[in-house]
């Protein structure tokens, strides 16, 4: 016995989710209808059972305390400003004075520390290799003698020094001699911004008595004299860390808190120059905007510290135009508008000296898009716009997806097509792909306000940076389209697969403000586009981004709402995003969002934009791991020396690999990260080394570590035998290096890359990404037919 009258509505009735009048009618009906009464009772019973059945556990004070404590810790973690932000200019002056006094101690300490580290790791294997060129440093020994003796470090230090002298020659072979002559240039380039950081140090160094060169000089001398041993960036990482530790110790020893504090602040600044920019994905985000933001204060903080060009002790032959201590950029190049990092180019490293290559993963691919944009407009990009790792990672790597483990590691290698006698190795990281049931595809339609008011406070730029971040997280399952509105509305980006990142990014970058604000028109076009790509199995969403000052067409929320309601019912939800403060119309957006069954957010700076685009919006995408670091340890028996292509600004001190407090990259579901190494093999049999991967679960703090051997079987005998994607990577990396003006590509040319086009396997040659790539190379060759003017 059933009653159809209110059949589906009794639940609404018992929860009173109906107009009062309807409720009254239903109550009346209930009195006369047994069937309906039975149904209501059953529903109530079920609800009651659920309520009773799920008992509410009592909270323990311990849990409360624990949660509050963790919240505080997390807060501190987030709030802690990068140290160079609060390095006041005044501190720089104090630093100068202080460094003078501390120089030797620091130097000595650092040296012995590193020596010790190496010993620990390698059982003395590299005792000889590591030591600096510097002769014994009596001044340092005097200054810090008591302390160092107490720590028993003086001996190894001196041994280091003795051992060092003869080192350069034996390791240099003919190949190296060739590269060696110009190595200083490479190292200069490599140092990039870091030179600023070192400037004050060197200024002081110039005043030092000759027998006790300052650490930076020693380092640099070392670099300059021996190509094979040049690794300023890497060393700087280690050095900076060692330094800061030295300072930490200093604090305890001297107890001169205020002054020492300022000093260590400055050390932080030095460190920041070396690798600060590459550090935290979490904090820095993946956007250029954030990066830019961070860089500026860094440069500002550094600027007052840089003295005018200073004489450099022990300066070797053929110095570069800028000198070492000056504030002129390497190679006399003019710094562009601080938009790009200046992290230089990694040098070759002799495995015996330092088998460890440690860096934070980087899933950014923005660099390739930026460069493509330049080239399409017929302009050669600034060299620092080209980042090798981002170029490589912008391309599909052809790795099989991984569904079970958090990460799979892929390794292969082949003779380098550009460096005779060298091999190229590819280390690939594949993050677990979400299984189909784990994440829904996204159908995102952005409706973006490009009216004149969006130019204020850089609102539109903020949105663009946010979108760029988001695009990096999408893949082939997703579809994105963009509608824009000014005085009128129009379709801006036709529905595009999330895998077509370049296309989407181009569209995003082409957005510019101007005109009035016709929200209604934009929304109606947006919903039209959204309905074209509607997929009932996907997350369908229209994202309205505006400062909400509708002043064209329909301006009243209610009138605009009419269309939204109908579409929301079909499962296309609206997310409204307010941008900028001041005159943005909160009420309109909120009402729109409510009507569209959505949420609304506002963003007013990069951090908020990041939170919205990366956390809230792409919350449906799964983050597999955070703080992902890679350490490749090469085996000196099989690999004579190696060079990491790219990742200059992602460098992490070797010792920090297991330091889980060091922030590193975040990796999303299905993402791959590839690092290329150029290596010189010794020809001996055996594994090439070990790849270690360290990461944390997205919400955990416990780090996991994986290790993989690089087996020789994965290295094929000729470039042509390498996997098609590997072959393309080699060309892409060379292209990036040429654009970057990498020293190591100085004998290369765009034409040489183009020669390889016809040798690629046909399927790879006709791949759209490949076709586009070669078009860009051709464009670059047209713009700069000769080899890059390095100097």
């Amino acid at each position: 016995m059933t009653c159809e009258k209110y059949s589906e509505r009794w639940t609404d009735y018992i929860f009173r989710e109906l107009p009062e009048e309807t409720l009254r009618e239903m109550r009346e009906h209930l009195e006369g209808c047994a069937a309906c009464r039975a149904e209501v009772e059953a529903l109530e019973a079920a609800a009651g059972a659920v309520k009773e059945g799920l008992s509410l556990p009592a909270v323990s004070e311990e849990f409360v305390r624990d949660t509050v404590r963790k919240a505080r810790a997390q807060e501190e973690e987030r709030r802690r400003p990068p140290f160079w932000l609060w390095a006041p200019a005044a501190a720089a002056v104090v630093v100068g004075l202080f460094l003078y006094g501390m120089f030797h101690m620091e130097f000595a300490d650092t040296r012995s520390r590193i020596a010790q580290r190496v010993e620990e790791r390698n059982g003395g294997l590299r005792d000889e290799a590591l030591a600096p060129l510097a002769p014994a440093a009596p001044a340092g020994a005097e200054a810090e003698g008591g302390r160092r003796k107490a720590e028993g470090k003086q001996e190894p230090f001196q041994e280091d020094d003795k051992a060092l002298g003869g080192l350069a020659v034996p390791t240099a072979d003919a190949e190296m001699a060739r590269r060696r002559a110009d190595v200083r240039d490479a190292s200069e380039k490599q140092v990039g911004r870091e030179q600023f950081a070192q400037a004050p140090t060197m200024g002081i160094a110039a005043d030092q008595p000759a027998p006790a060169p300052a650490k930076a000089d020693a380092r640099r001398n070392e670099a300059q004299l021996d190509a094979s041993r040049t690794q300023p960036l890497k060393d700087s990482g280690a050095r900076a860390s060692a330094e800061s530790q030295a300072f930490e110790e200093k604090i305890t020893v001297t107890g001169q808190a205020p002054v020492v504090d300022a000093t260590s602040t400055a050390t932080g600044t030095l460190q920041a120059g070396g690798r600060g920019l590459g550090e935290s994905k979490k904090e820095a985000g993946t956007g250029l905007g954030e990066r830019q933001k961070r860089q500026q204060p860094a440069e500002e903080a550094l600027a007052p510290m840089a003295p005018p060009p200073v004489p450099v002790p022990a300066k070797p032959e053929g110095s570069g135009p800028s000198g070492l201590g000056g504030s002129v950029p390497p190679n006399g190049a003019v710094y562009p508008d601080m938009f790009f990092d200046h992290a230089g180019v990694n040098p070759f490293i002799v495995t015996e000296e330092d088998p460890f290559s440690t860096f934070a993963v980087d899933v950014d691919t923005a660099s390739y898009g930026v460069v493509r944009n330049y080239l399409r407009r017929g302009v050669l990009p600034p060299r620092d716009a080209a980042r090798v790792e981002e170029f490589v990672n912008a391309f599909d790597q052809g790795y099989p997806p991984e569904y079970r483990k958090d990460f799979a590691l892929r390794f292969d290698g082949a003779p380098s097509p550009f460096g005779l006698g060298y091999h190229l190795l590819r280390v690939g990281l594949v993050a677990r792909s979400a299984m189909e049931e784990e994440r829904k595809p996204l159908r995102l339609t952005f409706v973006i306000d490009c009216s004149g008011s969006m130019a204020r406070e850089g609102r539109l730029e903020l949105v663009k940076r946010g979108l760029e971040m988001l695009v990096g997280r999408l893949d082939g399952r997703d579809t994105v389209s963009i509608a824009v509105f000014r005085t009128e509305g129009r379709r801006h980006l036709e529905p595009s697969s999330g895998a077509e990142r370049g296309r989407i990014l181009d569209a995003v970058r082409a957005l510019h403000p101007g005109g009035s604000t016709n929200v209604a028109r934009g929304l109606s076009i947006g919903y039209q586009m959204a309905s074209e790509i509607f997929d009932p199995r996907a997350v369908n969403r229209v994202i309205l981004i505006s400062d909400g000052v509708a002043n064209e067409g329909l301006t009243a929320a209610d009138a605009i709402l009419g269309t939204v309601r109908g579409d929301a019912a079909r499962g296309i939800f609206l997310t409204a995003v307010g941008v900028g403060m001041g005159n943005y119309n909160d009420a309109l957006l909120e009402r729109l969002a409510n009507a569209g069954n959505g949420m609304y957010f506002y963003i007013d700076d990069d951090a908020e934009a990041e939170r919205f685009f990366l956390q809230d919006l792409s919350g449906m995408l799964e983050v597999v791991a955070k703080d992902v670091k890679i350490q490749v340890e090469f085996d000196p028996r099989t690999v004579a020396r190696y060079r990491l292509l790219g990742y200059e600004n992602r460098d992490i001190a070797d010792r920090d690999f297991r330091n889980d407090a060091v922030d590193a990259g975040e990796v999303n579901s299905g993402h791959t990260v590839t690092a290329l190494y150029e290596v010189k093999l010794t020809g001996k049999k055996g594994d090439l080394g070990t790849v270690r991967l360290r990461y944390k679960q997205p919400l955990g703090e416990k780090a996991a570590e994986l290790a993989f051997a690089m087996i020789p079987k994965a290295v094929v005998g000729s470039f042509e035998k390498a996997l098609p994607h590997f072959q393309r990577d080699a060309l892409v990396a060379e292209f990036a290096e040429l654009l970057r003006g990498s020293y190591w590509a100085k004998d290369g040319s765009f034409a040489a890359i183009l020669k390889h086009e016809r040798d690629l396997p046909p399927a790879m040659r006709s791949d759209p990404e490949t076709v586009e790539f070669f078009n860009l190379v051709r464009e670059a060759a047209r713009l700069r037919p000769a080899r890059p003017p390095d100097r």
């Binding site: 929860f15 529903l43 609800a47 659920v50 909270v59 849990f63 949660t67 509050v68």
Partner: protein, 183 residues
Amino acid sequence: MPEIVAEVAMENPEPLDALDAFLGGEEGAFAEVVRAWYSRLVAYARSFLDTPEECQEAVQDALLKLHQARRTIRENPRAWLFKVTRNRCLDMQRRAIRERKRTEGALPVFPGAALPPLERLEVREALGTLPERDRAVVCLKVLEGLSYEEIAGALGLTAGNVGYILHHALKKLASIIRPGGRS
């Protein structure tokens, strides 16, 4: 009888004061928020997760996230908390499923197919026969007394969907529970 259930619906022991105070910038209120929300969130998490430990972890994560996002939450904060808890639970569930897949090579099966005698069927298990989305709707409504609108906001549904889902979920629960003769 309807009146009783109406009580369920009306009952809204919302500690809005603590949460509001906290979101209004009263940082010290966080401990109070934790105290006030622990029970309901754990109860909610229980509909997704197997062990109390997991529930606790999920709830703590959600509360920490609340702390982190306190200046940026623009939705109904209650709905937001449930949403975040749910997402965290689903994460953990997936993790557990993966774990099981690895060890047993089989997906866990909800006891919907072959139900044990109904008297012994715990409410939790009965809820377990519902798809997770439906479970979430039921819990948010019955335990928390959120409005359809709020539930819709938290789960990314429409209010109409919520009503429909809730109705059929309760009917299903009723069909499981009724033969057992709830006295």
